[in-house]
Symmetry: C2
Subunit: 268 residues, 2 copies
């Protein structure tokens, strides 16, 4: 994950003070997604994709198309899943799915909070039972960065256009109630816009130097998608500003104070 400039800088907006418009399209009319569906084709059929566009898709439709789902009936809960199911009032098979998807459990109660192999920390490991048939669970894509890159390649193959891709999940936050959209995979630009070396309006070097732009875009995409039966699982952004930066969005275990405290409390 590199090449912040792979998307041509022809698309510029407020940030560079030109007057080109940003256009954001909630992609409607997608049917219920099932395993084997060609998402890139289905989306390309429904919206005109342009060079440099950003395409944000809900992780749920990516996972459904790629079969990252499982019937609860095929899951045999371990004693730990039985215990946590009782503790948290959840189906132990669902709890087992969460444990299976987790690399490291940070908190067991009142809900499981865990780290996934790709670095994301999320409630119930992002395992979902919404918008899928009864008795099924949806997992996050196991390699969302690879998924975003692959999806980007597919769009290029179909349309001939280079796009940026963000795969979103809906996550809770510390200190604030309510979920917001977060990026779990991206391709075509960096996660972080790095202002190091930039100056403010008075010429001072900036103190706030790293802006997690992929999460700001993912949040807005999520606002357009909604959570319920809106059926808008993909959003297209046109003429977005470009940025440079890096992809180190996840803290290391040493850096992450909250992670350490939660883990200590959980293992106490």
């Amino acid at each position: 994950m590199k090449m912040p400039n792979e998307i041509p800088i022809s698309c510029v907006c407020s940030i560079s003070s030109t007057m080109e418009n940003i256009v954001v399209t909630g992609i409607q009319g997608l049917p219920l997604i099932k395993a084997g569906d060609n998402l890139a084709q289905m989306i390309s059929d429904r919206v005109a994709i342009g060079e440099g566009d950003i395409l944000s898709i809900a992780s749920t439709i990516y996972s459904k198309a790629h079969g990252y789902t499982k019937p609860l009936s095929e899951i045999a809960p371990t004693p730990r899943a039985e215990r946590l199911g009782k503790l948290n009032g959840e189906d132990p098979r669902f709890v087992q799915a969460v444990l299976d998807a987790s690399d490291d459990i940070l908190m067991e109660h009142p809900f499981i909070l865990s780290e996934l192999s790709f670095g994301h920390i999320g409630v119930r490991a992002g395992v979902d039972q919404s918008n899928i048939d009864d008795g099924m669970v949806i997992f996050l894509p196991p390699d969302p960065m690879g998924a975003a890159s692959e999806f980007r390649d597919e769009i290029r193959t179909i349309t001939g256009k280079n796009v940026g891709v963000i795969i979103t999940d809906t996550c809770g936050r510390s200190f604030r109630r309510g979920q917001t959209g977060h990026a779990i995979g991206w391709s075509g630009f960096t996660a972080i816009r790095d202002f190091r070396g930039d100056t403010d309006l008075f010429g001072h070097e900036l103190k706030i130097t790293e802006e997690a732009v992929v999460d700001e875009i993912a949040g807005f995409a999520n606002f357009i998608m909604g959570e319920s039966n809106n059926g808008v699982p993909a959003v297209l952004f046109r003429n977005c500003p470009t940025w440079t930066g890096h992809d180190n969005i996840y803290f290391t275990r040493e850096e992450d104070i909250t992670r350490r405290l939660l883990k200590e409390a959980c293992t106490r």
Copy 2:
């Protein structure tokens, strides 16, 4: 500093089957804001505001216009500020400003994390030294909900239009590097979109029921604003979807697990 181009940037988004467009405008051409400036008038002069629009402004320009700033030279650091200044490598007068703005300190090092009187938890209590004269600090508005409501009234008086208002700050998050825009004050709608009672595409009652839409909009506004010398401190959203919900965005102290763990670790 005058921006070379004062023509607003627009963002057109279709989200509902009615295909009504959302238009988002980065408001350019605002001069450096100083105490006593009539922000509502200055913004109304630069963009055509419509009924039901959402206007998002950076807390820094609200605070500057209302004089929530202070010269460091007028701040006498207490022994605690001297100690924390040494510990964190910061000017003890700046640290004193942070302590003065804080209602409860949750963490002292490597940076101060504290709760403000209105419920927001933020790094250095949101006290800022960017985009202001040397030797000055900017505080968050002490009553951002009141500020948003008052600003909304001013826009109505000037334009005759009812708008929604979001006052933003740039905040870090747990688990993820990089700041994103968050709402610290809002008026004209609720912070949380509440899906309780809604069903998903399969008719199941939704598990994720509360979406913090004000933060998703604030994040996108922040993406358009940028952090450095872009000079776009206000963003207008037109034809946004509407929602119902509630304003309880801040956890109670009992509910907030991260807050409790940080506080325990800090007082250990």
